[in-house]
Symmetry: C2
Subunit: 591 residues, 2 copies
């Protein structure tokens, strides 16, 4: 061992001890015949002192040091005269007797500090240096802790972690697969799993009863910010359960993570909300319930006032921005522009200002003061508030736009506090989605999601309106406005499964071709089962109070799916392609 | 929940309780107006009783049942009249009041019993049914337990589990990579990791100090029996350590696994052996030390007796087979044929039989009785033993052949007991291997493996003999004759690394092209570090006392890399290939 202690370990009670430390040089300061060196490792920082008068050799070595040099020192722990209350080792320093440079370092391209001077690109290229910084070290340590705690909890609950294959088959009706040419099976390809969905259902058929896996999944999608081509899920499945069992079990897991990782106790049951309430009150099935500012529907109140915007709308709703009456016309115009951006796509924004001088709105000429006040009241506004109103043809789209505005206002008013955690179950999603273009229903979750037991009659009805009223036995786990888990009770009755394929417009051959494999397995005695999968990267970033998941992944890829540190993907040899019986058809554009 | 208890839970003390159980029908027996049903789940088997006189409906349902039907029953726990001491629930049975068939099952193609009647192929195809059998359920539960325990141990020791990318870059000088065409980066490919070696060394450069990961790795090799294209490693790396620290830490892990998973305590330090002792005494660097029968070298004793076989050999060695004097000529001939098979490639086998009638050997005419007895004695033989002797031109090849024979004799004599565990550290491997054909040295481990500190002078010498005498700071963990872990202290001094590349015959450009990425990272202050990786699948199978790893992998592939259950790999659409800018060049042979 190159050390007797780590750089985060020594305390006042160690005074007088002879110790050996090793680590990286964080900082060097000179002061009147003394050199002070901050020595850093994963565990902390310890101040070292070189007294110029000790030895020429030691002095020379100390003189030679640069930032990020790796050194080993021997010395004696002494009490500091000027203590540093900010770090756990701040009461002591180590007086050096011997110093050895284990490795030199060229000057890093950015400072290795919590607040670094490096831009995103340079830090991505030198990820191994960025990973030395405190925030990333803490992020990855947190990730480890969450994984350990999740595994401990699930294991204690009788779940078995089973590894499922990475080299598997293509997923029908899913996102785009990454594929792997097989050398031993020429002309054929493996696919990387988008999720172990099939395998976990097979494990239930196989009687494993409670399965989980913290597992890498892959989707070859065009990457939006903060999406990764490979990502990690906590994937779970249980047999002989109903929805309530799943919610109880995984609420237990979440509570245990909150408690044992973050030290937060949730004694009450997590709030639960139906999909339709989530849309009506938050304009989002990923409701952020850390703050109020709920959507209020005012459609019926505003009709028949000869204001065509309202009269032609199928949905009109508003939110009350607390203290917003002070918003200037310019600020409201800016918000209007904000909601008109294509990402939101609203046609405009109306408002009511409840100021000291009464109610003032952008539609004053169609309504009386009392009517306007009543609308504002309906939206939950009190004196001093601003009511923001949207109207639209499509109920869900308008609610979503208003929900997005609500989140933006929440951000602007500082209501979305990072250190506050508001978990939420959302359930009773519609089972099916009608697509006007193809004139057919699609499964909102996947074709193995069970309808709610009480909706089975409607599910077997031939009326479109009935089918649109069928709810799925599915549920999402939402934290602070982000969906981090989702799952469902699966269909295990073959008649219901057949009906599902029929509703989705698959012929029997279609179904057999696409899902024959699992339909077959289900013939041998499938238990009632259901499950859930959590987005682990996102889970960790929320636990760490961060928006971006990048810091919670050791070696993330950029938006083009490249690892800029490795400069990957890259070319491969012709010979290797020949062995795999493939050929690249890419012709680089002539520049 | 579909049940109040599992099928492994009820005991005599539960008598009188009303319970609900759910599971699979294992077996049905009829006896005088009663039906006895064995109900199975992951947790055990509970006997159910249907009394014909209870209700017509219940009777009819019971009549309809078949093997592997999934049922739910309500009933009362009663004491059994004829108890079954073999199962934990054997003192009770459940008298059924209500029964519901949750799912029917077509007759499985083989019996779901510990000893099934299904052949390997049919069980592979219906893996989800094979996985219902006790031995596989126990194997996967053991695997889960080993993983949990390893994670707990390492976590407690300050290791952080860090996930490294699956989509990474091609490994220079490794085995063949699986590759993944990138859609977003046309003409370019990712490679799947053969091991996270580069990443874990980068994590040490990044200051993570103690890293581990239980991680899938991939090698596109022609599969020998019991090799899988994807396999799992416990991959570990530590900073500021020397060999002794690694051995101590991971011996600790192994001991904790032995204790907490298998209930075996190892109070003593694990045996340690140099590579050269392993070869000299066991003819294998994966010595099985569960039994003796050590190799003894007799080269000098047998020279100069005008027996050309001995006189031309550079190595002559023997093993003493206890009680083998009874072996007939025919048996010895059969052994001789056995060692002549191409897998072993020995030219022949000599013997000495130490029977009641004195020593009798296959080279009696060149030696006196006393000389033959002395040779036998040197090999450790006593009266009643058989000495088997091999002679060869190449020392190591001959030792290996004799070592293989030793293992075979160990098997035949029942000395390799599955429930006996003999861990062993092997170290001091040669650093370099000379290849006559290409007239250059190759790294026996990999080019980042450090020479032993005391061999550095020789390492910088220009004499081939000196370089052949340099030992690597590497170590293997061996269990019962199988290598299940291996690692090394890495080079962290750039001068030593440069010398390594020089010795391996790389020009500076070569080195930069192949390893530039990590050489570069090392310039920013690399700590001394080293690590180890364990073959997790193998580890689990040895813990389970099994030779084959297949039962310890939920969904293994066959020797052609196919998952016969999924029928994967398979064809993909032309459209998908076009998107990926690849084309298949495979032309199926005309039949």
């Amino acid at each position: 061992m190159f050390r007797t202690h780590t750089c985060g370990e020594l305390r006042l009670s160690d005074s007088g001890k002879s110790v050996t430390l090793a680590g990286w040089v964080q900082r060097i300061r000179k002061m009147g015949g003394m050199s002070f060196i901050d020595l850093r490792d994963r565990y902390g920082i310890t101040q070292l002192v070189v007294d110029d008068s000790v030895s020429k050799e030691l002095n020379e070595t100390a003189e030679s040091l640069g930032r990020e040099y790796v050194i080993q020192i021997k010395g004696v722990v002494v009490e500091r005269s000027s203590k540093n209350g900010k770090i756990p080792t701040g009461e002591i320093e180590v007086r050096i007797n011997e110093m050895k440079v284990l490795n030199q370092a060229v000057t890093p391209p950015f400072t290795i500090e919590d607040d670094t001077d490096g831009g995103e690109d340079i830090r991505a290229k030198y990820r191994y240096l960025d990973l030395r910084r405190g925030p990333l070290q803490r992020a990855l340590a947190l990730r480890h802790q969450v994984a350990q705690e999740a595994r401990r909890f699930l294991s204690d609950e009788g779940f078995i972690e089973v590894e499922t294959p990475v080299l598997m088959n293509s997923t029908p009706e899913g996102a785009r697969d990454f594929v792997v040419p097989s050398r031993m099976n020429p002309g054929e390809f493996y696919a990387l799993p988008q999720s172990p969905q099939t395998f976990k259902q097979l494990l239930m058929v196989a009687g494993y009863d409670r399965y989980f896996q913290i597992v890498k999944c892959f989707r070859d999608e065009d990457l939006r910010a903060d999406r990764q081509p490979e990502f990690t899920q906590i994937d779970c499945e249980m047999s002989f359960v109903e929805r309530e069992d799943i919610l109880t079990t995984f609420e237990g897991m979440a509570k245990s993570l909150f408690k044992n990782v973050l030290g937060r106790e949730f004694s009450e049951q997590f709030p639960r909300m139906s999909y339709s309430d989530a849309m009506n009150f938050y304009g989002s099935d990923k409701s952020d319930i850390r703050f109020g500012m709920k959507l209020a529907e005012i459609t019926s109140m505003v009709k028949g006032h000869e204001f065509s915007l309202f009269d032609t709308a199928n949905y009109v709703g508003g939110i009350a921005v607390s203290g917003g009456a002070e918003y200037t016309r310019k600020q409201i115009d800016e918000l209007t522009e904000w909601v008109k951006r294509p990402q939101i796509g609203a046609k405009g924004l109306l408002y009511i200002r409840l100021g000291a001088d009464g109610a003032k709105s952008s539609f004053d000429k169609y309504f009386t003061q009392e009517e306007i006040k009543a609308i504002a009241e309906k939206c939950g506004a009190v004196n001093g508030d601003l009511v923001l109103i949207m109207a639209g043809e499509k109920r869900d789209k308008t609610q979503e736009a208003l929900g997005t505005l609500r989140i933006e206002m929440g951000n602007r008013l500082g209501l979305r506090k990072k250190d506050e955690f508001a978990p939420l179950w959302v359930y009773d999603f519609p089972l099916l989605e009608w697509d006007d273009e193809t004139q057919r229903f699609y499964a909102k979750h996947h074709p193995f999601t069970s309808p709610k037991p009480e909706d089975l009659d409607k599910f077997f009805s031939n009326k479109k309106e009935d089918l649109e009223q069928v709810f799925a036995n599915a549920y999402d786990f939402v934290l602070n406005g982000t969906e981090i888990g989702g799952g469902s009770i699966r269909i295990y009755d073959s008649k219901v499964q057949q009906r599902m394929f029929e509703v989705l417009g698959f012929s029997e051959e279609d179904a057999q071709r696409k899902f024959g494999f699992i339909i077959n397995a289900f013939k041998f005695g499938a238990p009632p089962h259901g499950g859930i999968a959590f987005g682990f990267d996102r889970f960790c970033s929320l636990f760490g109070g961060q928006e971006s998941i990048r810091d919670y992944i050791a070696f993330p890829k950029n938006n083009s799916g490249r690892d800029v540190m490795l400069d990957t993907p890259g070319k491969i040899d012709e010979a290797q392609m020949n062995e795999l019986f493939i050929k690249s058809t890419w012709v680089p554009p002539v520049k």
